[in-house]
């Protein structure tokens, strides 16, 4: 079943641009509500799953392009680690917005609308879609929506979208191998003994041996 959504909240930001208003009114995001079912109450917990294994992915190539660009504005590559898109976060986002569960269905509406908004805002300000902008131009848009508390009323809904999108991007990234490495997570390996934190570190934090002694007896 197709659902067509008019991006009403997008109009607020483009109110001063009548021709964009017209375009916005004519453009509707095509949202496929998947017939997919969840994995059920007794899935195989030991096999490795890939995006698309359990339900069809609904993002179009154009949506993926915008999603990927925005991911990488949020988590670009740096001297330590790769970018979000290089770590497979777009596949994760596609899996997320395509999933049949209530939270994901709610996110689907917010995120697909948000991606449309990003392109409209990019067109409005710079005459190109978001993925085609220079990084400085992308930042000019993101600066207006990156903090919900400080966003102007016209950007309130875009800021809400951005906060959720950043959470999902960060969630997808830091739960991947690239993210674990970036954060220098060194657990999830079998150990013969658990030795606790090094004493030198504890002393630096003002947690001398007496603290350890008090608990360990």
């Amino acid at each position: 079943m197709d659902r067509r959504t008019t991006i009403k909240w997008m109009l607020a930001a483009s109110a001063s641009m009548p021709f964009l208003q017209q375009r916005a009114a004519g453009v509707e995001a095509t949202m496929v509500t998947p017939q997919a079912r969840g994995y059920g109450t007794d899935p195989d917990l030991t096999k490795v799953y890939h995006a698309g294994d359990l339900w069809p992915l609904i993002l179009t190539p154009a949506q993926r392009r915008t999603a990927s660009a925005l991911c990488d504005v949020i988590i670009p590559s740096d001297s330590v680690s790769r970018s979000a898109s290089a770590a497979g976060v777009v596949d994760f986002l596609a899996e997320w917005v395509s999933a049949p569960y209530p939270i994901q269905v709610k996110d689907r509406a917010l995120i697909l609308d948000g991606l449309v908004w990003m392109n409209f805002e990019a067109m409005r300000r710079f005459g190109r879609d978001f993925a085609a902008l220079k990084l400085t131009q992308q930042h000019l848009i993101c600066d207006d929506i990156c903090c919900e508390q400080n966003a102007k009323p016209a950007f309130a809904q875009a800021a809400q979208f951005f906060a959720r999108y950043r959470d999902l991007t960060a969630g997808g990234y830091y739960s991947s191998a690239a993210g674990r490495k970036d954060l220098q997570y060194i657990g999830n390996v079998p150990l013969k003994s658990f030795d606790g934190p090094p004493l030198a570190l504890l002393q630096k934090l003002g947690l001398g041996p007496e603290q350890v002694q008090a608990i360990e007896g």
Partner: protein
């Protein structure tokens, strides 16, 4: 005797045990190791932790990075299968839509029940906890004392393996020598919490959890567990050697394929099966106890979920260990001319005095814990330390405005990053993105602490369950309808928790994330959400005011025993599982005694 089908039952058994979790596992273990012929009936499917547990899977190997979904409420990798607060085809009814009257009922339809995923926190009730009414005039005393149960706490700890230490704090009793395994070393945030909480007069001591921090003592424990029974000693000594010690990785909530923590499926059932005295039928949905001659139970009726057939199993004794509310449901659905309002319900108390644990949480961020060097803080996966209730005297003197206590569980450390690890940090970063966000992520990762209060609820007349007159589940079995009410003792306690957590976070130099809820009615989590529901068929001294005696034996039908949380007359802040197992062992000993004396 092994796993069998409903078509291959023996003609009769000594004991039928309904349920396979902490209560069913312990009951079946004790009975079969001591020679009784036991049939265990489990409503869910067979479950094999050795092959089914996702031990080292990372979030990116699962759907949605392992996020919680309606199918898997504690996340994809949680051990629970076919379970949750909503089980398809197995509804229940809430008597009100009012949020304050909400009760959610967790079920785990699988062999081992909820022991496969539980937090493994294993605290003993203290002497006060058995004599609550005598102490403050509220609720009910237990018909037994701490001294009665202490030897069974010792036995359970020796059998399942519990780490902890004896700290000598009030109403936080010590274990007998040799019972506890050494606690794991505290992580950095534990030590900082301990240092700062102590400045506020709040103690922090080693946690108690059912995790093998080293191999069990297979040389001396078997004789303490099964005196005079060399066969049982040999079986358990061999099985103890097959359980590995903790490898300090992968969360206990996923279950443990190397059997390093307690779950019924890895600790109780293997030796019980090895005794040759236990048959297990899974997919057996028990709904009724059948009555035979002289008003005694003759067995149970169950539906075989694999083919929908109604079956009967016969035994001299029936033990219900189906989880508190399911046990109540079976009793209430066992109607006869003799027991028109449900079996063993001449007191009218079956379903009454349902309790959960009071829960409230707060989290914060601590600058001192920012940008720490890489640390492996997986440890035993949680609760290396905790705070037992510490204000007994102030409370007794009436200074707190609520009558019972709570303990505190802590979260912190550089855990395996997941979906939520760096979500919602805008309050710290002012909305950073790009390279700055990556730097912020490195800075804040591992600097968060969380506090969960777990407190005692006093039984009240407004919290109970009964059979709904209309609704049936997919098997045609009438379902439960729940009524729920918190008293001010609970809501004020929840508000006290919030304030305590705020004080500790601030004493750590940290910042609280979100509001500190001063309204206890808003701070308290819904009934059933902590999944410590007990009561519903309480034990007591008199047949008029309770359902069972101090052995869990129903007053009305002397060969029916309840060994799960249903018999709890109070619900101390201490998590119920260890007490359930100790009571089940004690009840099983009594059953054996009565059978030997031919009184059953």
């Amino acid at each position: 005797m092994p796993f069998v089908t409903s078509a291959a039952l023996e003609k009769t058994y000594d004991v039928i045990v309904v349920g396979s979790g902490a209560a069913g596992g312990q009951s079946a273990y004790t009975l079969s190791m001591e020679g009784a012929k036991v049939l265990m009936l489990e409503a869910g499917r067979k479950y094999v932790p050795e092959t089914e547990t996702p031990m080292f899977q990372t979030p990116d190997q699962g759907p949605l990075r392992g996020a919680s979904t309606p199918d898997k409420r504690f996340g994809f990798y949680d051990a629970t299968v076919d379970g949750g607060w909503d089980v398809p085809g197995e509804p229940y009814v809430r008597a009100t839509h009012d949020a304050a009257g909400r009760f959610d009922w967790w079920r785990a339809r699988m062999l081992g029940g909820r022991t496969n995923h539980w937090g493994r926190i294993s605290l003993r009730n203290g002497p006060y906890d058995f004599k609550v009414h005598s102490r403050d005039g509220l609720g009910f005393d237990w018909p037994l004392s701490y001294a009665d149960l202490a030897p069974y706490y010792d036995k359970v700890e020796l059998l399942v393996g519990v780490y902890g230490s004896n700290d000598g704090l009030e109403n936080t009793p010590p274990s007998a020598p040799g019972c506890l395994l050494p606690p794991p070393k505290p992580i950095v945030s534990d030590l900082l919490i301990a240092q700062r909480a102590r400045r506020l007069g709040i103690p922090v001591i080693a946690g108690h959890r059912a995790v093998l921090t080293r191999q069990l003592d297979f040389r001396t424990s078997p004789a303490r567990l099964h005196p005079g029974n060399p066969t049982a000693q040999g079986i358990i000594a061999a099985d103890m050697q097959r359980r590995a010690a903790c490898i300090w990785a992968t969360p206990c909530g996923r279950g443990c394929s190397i059997r390093a923590n307690y779950q019924s499926t890895t600790v109780h059932l293997p030796p019980a099966l090895a005794s040759g005295n236990l048959d297990i039928v899974t997919d057996a949905m028990v709904h009724e106890i059948t009555l035979g001659k002289r008003g005694l139970a003759s067995g149970v009726n169950f539906i075989d979920r694999t083919n929908g057939k109604e079956c009967h199993a016969a035994a001299r004794v029936v033990v219900l260990a189906a989880s508190s509310c399911e046990t109540v449901r079976i009793l209430l659905n066992s109607k006869s001319a003799r027991f028109p309002s449900g079996l063993a319900n001449s007191s009218g108390k079956v379903g009454r005095y349902l309790m959960d644990t009071v829960g409230s949480s707060l989290a914060g961020q601590v600058p001192l814990l920012e940008s720490l060097p890489p640390l492996n803080e997986d440890g035993a996966s949680e609760s290396h330390v905790y705070t037992p209730w510490w204000l007994y005297q102030e409370q007794l003197a009436g200074k707190l405005g609520f009558a019972r206590g709570y303990h505190i569980e802590f979260g912190g450390g550089k855990r395996m990053p997941g979906l939520g690890t760096l979500a919602g940090i805008e309050w710290l970063t002012a909305g950073s993105y790009g390279k700055k966000f990556k730097e912020d992520a490195r800075r804040y990762y591992g600097s968060f602490v969380s506090f969960d209060g777990r407190g005692e609820m006093i039984p009240n007349k407004g919290s109970y369950c009964e059979i709904d007159p209309k609704v049936k589940d997919k098997f045609g079995i009438p379902v439960l309808r729940f009524h729920w009410k918190w008293s001010e003792h609970e809501t004020r306690q929840a508000a006290h928790m919030q304030n305590t957590f705020k004080e500790i976070i601030e004493a750590m130099g940290g910042r609280v994330n979100g509001p500190v809820e001063a309204d206890g009615a808003k701070a308290i989590q819904a009934g059933g959400s902590i999944i410590h529901e007990v009561g519903g068929a309480i034990m007591g001294r008199k047949a008029k005011t309770s359902v069972t005696n101090r052995w869990g034996q129903t007053w009305d039908v002397r060969n029916v025993f309840l060994t799960d949380g249903a018999v709890f007359p109070s619900n101390a802040d201490k998590n119920p599982t260890l007490t359930i197992m100790a009571l089940a062992w004690r009840a099983a000993d009594h059953i054996l005694d009565l059978m030997r004396r031919r009184e059953l």
